[in-house]
C-alpha cells in the first residue's frame, strides 16, 4: 500500500472565464519514508500538485488516496480534520503565529488534536531540542531569524505525528547557510524517524539532497528520477 496514490488527477482553474489546465492526468505513487521533491519552473503546477496532496484544494477530476483514504471526496471540515492528523505543513514564509512563542506555536497543533498538557509540553521541548532551538522556546517569531522560524515550523509540522510533511519552497527566503541547516534537520528526521518529506521547490540545494525528483512541466509529469 502506497502512502500517497494519485490517479488521473486533473485540475482546471477558471481564471476570469479563461480555463487554465494546471494539472493534466497526473498518476503518481509515493511511499512511506521518501524524501522527494516536486520541481519545475514557475507555473508548472508543482504548488497545485502539493495542494492536492495536502487536501488544500480539490481536484477537477481524478483521485488522491492517502493511506488508502480518498481525500478528494472529503468535505471541507473533514479535510481540515484529516490534515490535522495526517499531514504536516511547512510553508515558504509567515508560517508561525506571531503572537505566540516558539513553544506555543509547536504546542498549538497538539492542542487542536486534544493532546494532554503534559504530553504537549514534553513533546514540544523534545522537538524544539531536535531542531536545535532548545534555548529559544520562549522566543516570539520576530525574535528569531528566518532559518530559526522555519525550524520551528518543521517542529510544528511533525508535532502532530503526521503521515508525511509537505514543504512548499521552505528554503526560498533563507540564506544558504540557514537553508543547509534546515535541510540537515529535515534529512535527519527522515533518516532517524522515517518521516516522509515532499518538497515543492526549484532550489538546487533541496534538489541535491532529495532521493527522488519529480519534474513537472505544463501540468504534466515530465520525469520521475530516483537519485543516488
Amino acid at each position: 500500500m502506497s502512502l500517497i496514490k494519485i490517479i488521473d488527477l486533473n485540475k482546471i482553474y477558471d481564471s476570469n472565464k479563461i480555463l487554465v489546465h494546471a494539472l493534466k492526468d497526473i498518476n503518481l505513487e509515493i511511499e512511506k519514508g521518501e524524501f522527494t521533491a516536486i520541481v519545475g519552473p514557475s507555473g508548472s503546477g508543482k504548488t497545485t500538485l502539493l495542494n492536492m496532496i495536502g487536501g488544500l484544494d480539490t481536484p477537477t477530476s481524478g483521485k488522491v488516496f492517502i493511506n488508502d483514504i480518498d481525500i478528494s471526496n472529503l468535505k471541507a471540515d473533514e479535510l481540515i480534520e484529516f490534515r490535522l492528523h495526517h499531514i504536516g505543513f511547512v510553508f515558504q514564509s509567515f508560517n508561525l503565529i506571531p503572537v505566540l512563542t516558539a513553544k506555543e506555536n509547536v504546542e498549538f497543533i497538539m492542542l487542536l488534536q486534544g493532546v494532554s498538557k503534559e504530553e504537549r509540553e514534553k513533546r514540544t521541548i523534545e522537538l524544539l531540542n531536535a531542531v536545535g532551538l532548545g534555548d529559544k522556546i520562549n522566543s516570539r517569531p520576530y525574535e528569531l531569524s528566518g532559518g530559526q522560524q522555519q525550524r520551528v515550523a518543521v517542529a510544528r509540522a511533525i508535532a502532530s505525528h503526521p503521515s508525511f510533511v509537505l514543504a512548499d519552497e521552505p528554503t526560498a527566503n533563507l540564506d544558504s547557510k540557514a537553508a543547509e541547516g534546515l535541510l540537515d534537520i529535515m534529512e535527519n528526521l527522515n533518516k532517524t524517524l522515517g518521516m516522509t518529506f515532499i518538497f515543492a521547490t526549484h532550489d538546487n540545494k533541496v534538489i541535491k539532497r532529495v532521493r527522488r525528483v519529480i519534474t513537472l512541466e505544463d501540468g504534466k509529469i515530465k520525469s520521475d528520477i530516483i537519485q543516488n
Binding site: 488544500l56 510553508f91 505566540l100 497543533i109 509540522a157
Partner: protein
C-alpha cells in the same frame, strides 16, 4: 489557548485597539453616568412625593378621590386601625381629614386642600416637619396652621399672620375659622406648597363641634419591597374601602418609571450601536491583515468553528476591555455622587415646578448593569459576525498565497 490567542491578537495593533477600547470606555462611562442621573432624578422625585404627601399606601372612602366631599369619610376607622396595627409590615400610619376649602388673607384668597393631622403621628409618615423654612411644627396653642412658601407669597402672609379657612361642614353649611401661621414650609414642589395647608385635627374637631371625620389613612411600610404585597393584603381585608399604593395614587410617576428604563436601555443601545461599527471595522481590518495566517491555521488543522470562535472572542475582548473599565468607572462615579449628591440649585425654580429636588442623587439599579452587560455581549458578537464569516469562508490554498 484559543482564549490566550484571542487576547494576544487584540494587542497586535495597539493603537487601533486602544482607540476602540477608549471609545468603549468613555461611551459606556458616559452612558452609565447619564442613566444614573436620570434614574436618580426620577427616584429623588418619587421619594420626595412619597415623603411629602403620598406615603407608601393610602386608604380612602371609595368615592372620595373623585368627589372629595367632606361627607365621604371612613366611618369604621377603628376597624381600619386595628387591621393596620395587626400588620407587621406596616411601620407607621397617620389619620387625616382632608377638606377642599378657601384660604383668605386681608389681601388675597386662594383654593387650598386643608389637611388636618395628628402632628406627632404625621411625623412618622411624611416629612413636612423637616421642610419648615420658618417657624415651628405646631405648638400647644389652638388654631395653628402650616402653609407653603408659595401660598405665603401669594396671600402675602408671614409668621403669626392670620388666615381664614372656609369650607363646607358636615351639615353642608359653610364653616369659617381663623388660624395663625406658625410655620412656613418649602418642599420640592411649588404646586404642593401653593395648594396645601396643615392644621391639627383637634382644632378641626373644635370648629366642627364633633369628631373630625377621617378621610385618609397614610401608611408607611418597613421597606419599599413590601409595598405591593401589603397593598394587596389590605385590599383583601378592606373590601369596602379604596386601598392604593403610591403607584396608583401617582400613576404619572409610576408610568415614568416604566418608560424610563426602556428609554435608558435604548440610550445605551444607541451608544453600543455606534461602537458596533467601530468594532466591526477594526475586526474586518484585522481579518484582512491576517488572511494568510488564517490560511495557514486552517491548513494545519484549525477547524472553522474554532476560527469563528477566535474572532468572536477577539471582538468580545476588545469591547469588554473598554466596556468593563467604563462600567467600573461609571459605577464608582455613581457611588461617589450618590453620597455627595449633585447640587442643581442653579435651576431649583424650574425643578420645583416639576416637584423635583435641587439636590440630585444618581443611582442605577443592578438590573441595568446586567442588561448593559448583555447588550455589550450582543454588540461584540454582532460586530464580529461579518469578519468571522469572511475568515471561515477563506480557502486555505488561496489564503496562503495572499500577500499583505
Amino acid at each position: 489557548m484559543i482564549i490566550k490567542l484571542a487576547w494576544k491578537n487584540i494587542w497586535r495593533n495597539k493603537k487601533r485597539s486602544l482607540i476602540i477600547i477608549f471609545s468603549a470606555l468613555f461611551g459606556i462611562w458616559g452612558g452609565i453616568l447619564t442613566n444614573g442621573v436620570s434614574v436618580g432624578m426620577w427616584e429623588t422625585t418619587v421619594k420626595a412625593a412619597i415623603n411629602r404627601e403620598y406615603a407608601h399606601i393610602q386608604i380612602h372612602h371609595p368615592a372620595f378621590k373623585d368627589e372629595k366631599l367632606i361627607t365621604q369619610f371612613i366611618s369604621d376607622y377603628d376597624e381600619v386601625e386595628k387591621i393596620l396595627h395587626g400588620n407587621s409590615s406596616i411601620k407607621s400610619f397617620s389619620k387625616r381629614t382632608v377638606i377642599e376649602g378657601m384660604a383668605s388673607s386681608p389681601t388675597s384668597v386662594g383654593g387650598v386642600k386643608i389637611i388636618a393631622i395628628e402632628p406627632e403621628k404625621e411625623k412618622q409618615v411624611t416629612s413636612i416637619h423637616q421642610k419648615l423654612i420658618d417657624g415651628v411644627y405646631f405648638s400647644s396653642n389652638e388654631n395653628e396652621i402650616l402653609i407653603g412658601q408659595k401660598l405665603a407669597d401669594r396671600l402675602k402672609l408671614k409668621l403669626n399672620s392670620k388666615v381664614v379657612l372656609s369650607f363646607q361642614g358636615l351639615d353642608y353649611n359653610l364653616v369659617a375659622s381663623a388660624f395663625r401661621v406658625v410655620g412656613i414650609f418649602k418642599t420640592e414642589s411649588k404646586i404642593f406648597d401653593e395648594t396645601n395647608v396643615f392644621i391639627k385635627r383637634n382644632d378641626l374637631t373644635s370648629i366642627l363641634g364633633e369628631t373630625a371625620p377621617i378621610h385618609e389613612f397614610a401608611i408607611r411600610v418597613n421597606s419599599v419591597e413590601l409595598i405591593d404585597t401589603t397593598t394587596g393584603i389590605l385590599k383583601s381585608q378592606l373590601k369596602n374601602l379604596k386601598v392604593e399604593s403610591w403607584k396608583e395614587l401617582a400613576p404619572e410617576l409610576s408610568l415614568t418609571s416604566e418608560f424610563l428604563y426602556l428609554e435608558l436601555n435604548i440610550f445605551m443601545g444607541i451608544i453600543l450601536f455606534a461602537l458596533l461599527f467601530g468594532i466591526s471595522n477594526t475586526m474586518l481590518m484585522s481579518v484582512f491583515e491576517r488572511i494568510r495566517e488564517f490560511g495557514v491555521l486552517m491548513a494545519i488543522g484549525m477547524k472553522r468553528i474554532r476560527l469563528f470562535t477566535l474572532i468572536i472572542l477577539e471582538s468580545v475582548f476588545l469591547l469588554f476591555s473598554g466596556g468593563l473599565a467604563g462600567t467600573l468607572l461609571g459605577y464608582l462615579s455613581i457611588e461617589i455622587l450618590s453620597k455627595k449628591g449633585i447640587n442643581l440649585s442653579i435651576v431649583e425654580e424650574g425643578l420645583a415646578a416639576y416637584g423635583m429636588s435641587a439636590i440630585l442623587y444618581p443611582t442605577l439599579p443592578f438590573h441595568m448593569y446586567v442588561s448593559l452587560f448583555l447588550m455589550m455581549m450582543l454588540t461584540a458578537i454582532v460586530a464580529s459576525i461579518s469578519p468571522a464569516m469572511k475568515a471561515i469562508r477563506l480557502k486555505p490554498a488561496e489564503a496562503i498565497r495572499t500577500y499583505m
